[in-house]
Amino acid sequence: MARFVLLLVMVSVATFLLLELIPGDPVDGLLPEGATEEMRQQLIQLYGFDQSLVTRYVSWLGDLLHGDLGTSWQTRIPVATTIAERAPVSLELAVLAMALALAVAIPVGIYSAYRPGGIVDRIATFIASATLATPAFVLAIVLVWVFGVQLGWLPIVGWVPFSEDPFQHLRAVILPVISLAGGECVLFIRLLKGDMMATLQQDHVLSARARGLPTWRILVRHALRQSSFSLVTVSGVVIGRLIGGAVIVEMIFSIPGLGSLVVIAINNRDFITVQAIVLLSALIYLVLNSLVDLAYPLLDPRVRRATT
């Protein structure tokens, strides 16, 4: 727990310092055209820009400890409110992308390991070498071009909240989710296939085969769990990355998530919002990593003995 807090403090300090390095004065963006020096001074006073870095950090931290993330300099809306609006969008995208990536990667990974050099493996390897070299945004643009522009099946940009129209919401979600899932899926297949191939060489798999158990049962019950350590570890990192940092995909599809929020906030020098999002991302990473640690003993009882 102490480690947790220390890490979060370090992250917040680092963000504070780094944001200070960004050229441009936040006040400039806030002032209307032709504002007087007096108005400028008032604004500086209001937000406390005249105070030292340390004082500002301490006061920010103090507010944070009281559960106050501050108010956006730009919009005058409490940062917490904005995040609460946008986080569910990013969370939904991340969870769906993750679910899609795993739903494809687990069976494909298992089968590729079971029949290396087989048709599934060869197709997967081909797609992998093609997509590993392709950034997510290229995939996004290709998908938009094919399904949005050429075929016209799916909306090109835009976001419809689920509460407004569930069907349109799903249509709007499909392309961003596939863009996010694509690269991760390829990574998952590689990880799982590698571990799985090693497990399938082991004696207990041979012995399960000698017992005449059906192949799928051996693969899933006798091999998959021990082979998912890398997959689970990386999944934790990936889902954190997807929640806090699906920046490019959110920008391409103009999705009101955390990723696009952070870009807008940086452009506007709305550092108090950036602070909050960075802190939230760090927190998500830490929580996910702990969850991953908790998952190990579930995967392999031998770890259980070592930790308890």
């Binding site: 207990h204 798999v205 017992r211 005449g212």
Partner: protein, 366 residues
């Protein structure tokens, strides 16, 4: 076919004919098993003896159909279980043959159980799949099996994971798994090699007792002639993918024909030897099985080897006096030709392949 022969044939549990299993490797074709014939009658034990790399594990895996994908079973190879040609059935078509009629105990109990499943789960899984038992019946049966193989507190052990058990206990569990569906043939591939000496004895006795109770046939594979000496009805000695000698156990020991069998026996340390006697060993190493030349595979290490052994491959033939005893040697021990060959080599101090032969190996060490 006479009635006696017919009756014998009907009791034949396992028949292996001309089994050839080759492996595709980057360096060439490895002839791991190169023409093996075996017979096992119901209820009997066949001991297969050979050193590492002699092909005995590949043999057992081809019977179980768990060979690596790079293995090729050559056409003409035949494995029959009670007359049924196993090449004509696949595990997919016949779900309840492997694991039921045919089962296997592996060498290393530390690795041959699935680490993430409890002992009980592995047993009940097999029982439910093959025998269609209900969950409760399977759990009951699992505990009965654990008791049968001599595991104390079976109900508690069933809930434990393999890593909670000692090596000997784990091997008992793998045996319980192997006999869970009352197999007709149990293949035990070096079942005691990974265990402590004291535990080895217990496990072998357990196998013997289970066999006596159930009447199953057993193939006991080992590199230790001492293990099979008192337990097998007949013994086949394997070298370089071939059987070099086979006979009913007593006749093999009383009338050894192949110099390799003899060398294996001589390599067993004896309590009757004085302390600090040098352990007898077989010079050299088993041959590489990639594109083997026309020659006896053992010739380079054989104290009796003659020029003929280096240019021709001897076939396994019954001895003139005993049709049940076969060996693959041009100069078998106990024949005038064999004795002469050996004596000449000792005199010359070297065999036809240029390997030194010293007198110590020639004297009857028994």
């Amino acid at each position: 076919m006479s009635t006696i022969e017919a009756r014998t044939a009907s009791r034949l549990l396992l028949q292996v004919r001309n089994l050839k299993v080759w492996f595709d490797t980057p360096r060439g074709l490895v002839r791991a098993v190169d023409g093996v014939d075996l017979d096992l009658r119901a209820g009997e034990t066949l001991g297969i003896v050979g050193e590492s790399g002699s092909g005995k594990s590949v043999l057992s895996r081809s019977i179980m159909k768990i060979l690596a994908p790079s293995a090729r079973v050559l056409p003409g190879s035949e494995i029959r279980l009670k007359g049924l040609d196993l090449a004509t059935v696949s595990p997919k078509q016949n779900k309840h043959l492997w694991g039921v009629d045919l089962s296997m105990v592996f060498q290393d109990p530390m690795t041959s159980l699935t680490p993430v499943l409890t002992v009980g789960a592995q047993l009940t899984e097999t029982l439910r799949f093959h025998l269609g038992l209900s969950r409760d019946q399977a759990e009951e049966e699992a505990i009965r099996l654990l008791t049968l193989v001599g595991i104390p507190e079976p109900a508690k052990r069933a809930k434990q994971y393999p890593h909670n058990l000692s090596g000997g206990m784990r091997q008992r569990v793998t045996i319980a798994l192997a006999i869970s569906c009352s197999p007709e043939l149990l293949i035990a591939d070096e079942p005691t090699t990974a265990l402590d000496v004291t535990v080895q004895h217990q496990i072998l006795n357990l196998l013997e007792r289970l066999q006596a109770d159930s009447g199953m046939g057993m193939v006991l594979i080992t590199h230790d002639l001492g293990v099979v000496a008192g337990r097998a009805d007949s013994i086949a000695v394997m070298y370089a993918g071939r059987i070099v000698e086979k006979a009913p156990t007593k006749r093999l020991f009383s009338n050894m024909r192949h110099p390799y069998t003899r060398a294996l026996i001589d390599a067993i340390p004896r309590i009757s030897h004085p302390s600090h006697t040098r352990l007898a060993s077989i010079p050299g190493r088993p041959p590489v099985l990639i594109d083997p030349p026309q020659a006896c595979g053992f010739a380079p290490r054989c104290p009796s080897a003659q020029p003929r052994c280096l240019s021709e491959t001897p076939v396994l033939e019954p001895t003139p006096i005993d049709p049940a005893h076969a060996s693959a040697c041009f100069f078998p021990l106990g024949t005038p030709a064999g004795d002469a060959a050996r004596e000449n080599n000792i005199k010359a101090g070297v065999n036809a392949a240029g390997t030194a032969v010293n007198a110590g190996e020639s004297t009857d060490g028994r």
